[in-house]
């Protein structure tokens, strides 16, 4: 229990730091920027109470907001991601598999499942984030293209991180 608390606090801090110090400075082709930090929401254990999940997601988003001077933007996007996560899990996996293991990891659930799951959440998060940030549906195709291309990059980074730093 205590070990879990320490482990997830560490994942929280590392994802926020990586995001604000490194990934926030990335901008490819003037439209693609990765939002790696939702890795934290993706990795939380299956049995996290839904209310706690919402609180953690909100706190995560707010931490990013403080660094980027965008109060509410990341918080609202993370909150939505945290809210839909249990539904997404039910949708893409069987009940038995969710009860037999503790956390959504590559080694628990398989490579393909993890990519599908990460893509689902990243797309929801990025779609909401980019449209809240733009605060308009004007130029819809451009924003949609940004959402899709940035999501691809974020998913690649999140999956890679599973083999490099967050192995355990």
């Amino acid at each position: 229990m205590v070990i879990n608390l320490l482990k997830y606090s560490l994942i929280f801090v590392v994802s926020v730091l990586l995001q604000v110090l490194i990934f926030n400075n990335i901008l490819i082709a003037r439209m693609i920027s990765p939002f790696f930090y939702i890795l934290f929401i993706i990795l939380l254990p299956f049995n996290t109470p839904r209310a706690l999940l919402l609180f953690l997601a909100f706190t995560l988003g707010l931490s990013i907001d403080i660094f980027t001077n965008t109060p509410g933007v990341h918080a609202s996007a993370c909150l939505l991601t945290g809210f839909v996560r249990p539904g997404v899990l039910q949708l893409i996996s069987s009940r038995e598999s969710l009860e037999s293991v503790t956390a959504p990891r590559v080694e628990n659930m398989g490579f393909q499942w993890f990519i599908g799951y990460a893509t689902f959440l990243v797309l929801i998060h990025h779609f909401f984030l980019f449209f809240i940030e733009a605060f308009t549906f004007e130029g819809f195709p451009v924003t949609l293209l940004r959402v899709i291309l940035s999501s691809v990059l974020s998913v690649i980074l999140i999956v890679l991180s599973q083999f490099i730093i967050f192995r355990k």
Binding site: L27, R30, F58, P71, G72, F135
Partner: protein, 285 residues
């Protein structure tokens, strides 16, 4: 009553979601650049120190670039000094300190009104709709809100929040900021803003049709905002068109300052700003 609690308990997740989402969306909507709480600002102690530590680590790699830029600026200053010495009558040396920042302070009246200092950029972004810059100088170094920020004599942004040791700057690449600007060749002015699409281009609006406009025309500050002296370079016109059903041009301006590569910036303080603001506020009422 018991049923009510049961209902709340049953839907507590949805209720919590709606509550927090309303809270965060209202933060997005009511958020105002000029009256923000210091907590949500990267000039606060914690984030400021973190950014400073991190950027000073990478500073080693920036030295070469900074050197080249300073050499370039030196060359420009030296050329201006020569020009100035030629203009003044031969034999006399009353060039005094107009050699200091000559591209900005051409005459003594501007020198008397504006004060210049420098600061280092410790955080900067260009990939959002609302970009901000954090500087390593704050109240203790005499930085105040509404000071203009320039790089190589080109407009970069405006100081909006100041803490003891740091300050945040609203970047020109922020769709919430507008600044008045004019075409240098004929002095027609309009308002300059960013549409959030391309970090190298901003848009000049409110220039009427009858004004002759050319690609390559230089866009400079007007001095109306009082934060910048008149005539600072902003960029050049890269494209213009006539919007349908409107009486104004749609002008694309290629920025002169390279926002992706800001290291050292200059801060401009208008010593008469308070007096101007006070006088103008009388008209407002």
């Amino acid at each position: 009553m018991k049923n009510l609690f049961r209902l709340i308990y049953r839907y507590h997740v949805v209720l919590l979601f709606v509550l927090l989402e309303t809270l965060s969306l209202s933060m997005v909507v009511t958020y105002n650049n000029y009256q923000r709480s210091a907590f949500f600002d990267s000039s606060n102690f914690f984030t400021g120190t973190l950014f400073e530590k991190f950027s000073s680590f990478f500073q080693i790699f920036e030295f070469k670039q900074v050197n080249i830029k300073m050499a370039e600026e030196n060359a420009v200053l030296r050329a201006a000094l020569q020009e100035h010495l030629l203009k003044t009558s031969p034999g006399t040396y009353h060039a005094s300190d107009s050699i200091y920042l000559p591209r900005i302070a051409k005459d003594s009246s501007i020198r008397a009104v504006y004060r210049f200092t420098t600061a280092r950029v410790i955080n900067n972004s260009i990939n959002q709709q609302h970009n901000f810059i954090t500087l390593n100088k704050g109240r203790r170094d005499g930085v105040k809100p509404n000071m203009g920020v320039i790089a190589n004599g080109q407009v970069v942004g405006l100081v909006i929040n100041v803490s003891e040791n740091f300050s945040t700057v609203i970047s020109m690449l922020n769709s919430r900021w507008k600044i008045s600007a004019k075409i240098k060749r004929n002095d027609y002015f309009g308002s300059l803003s960013w549409d959030g699409k391309d970090y190298r281009r901003v848009q000049l609006n409110e220039i009427p049709y009858h004004v002759p406009v050319q690609n390559g025309d230089t866009i400079v500050t007007t001095g109306y905002s009082s934060s910048f002296p008149e005539g600072l370079t902003i960029g050049t016109i890269s494209d213009f068109s006539i919007g349908s059903g409107s009486n104004f041009y749609k002008i694309e301006v290629m920025l002169a300052a390279d926002f992706k590569n800001l290291v050292i910036v200059g801060l401009v303080e208008n010593k008469q700003l308070n007096e101007i603001k006070q006088l103008e506020s009388i008209n407002g009422n």
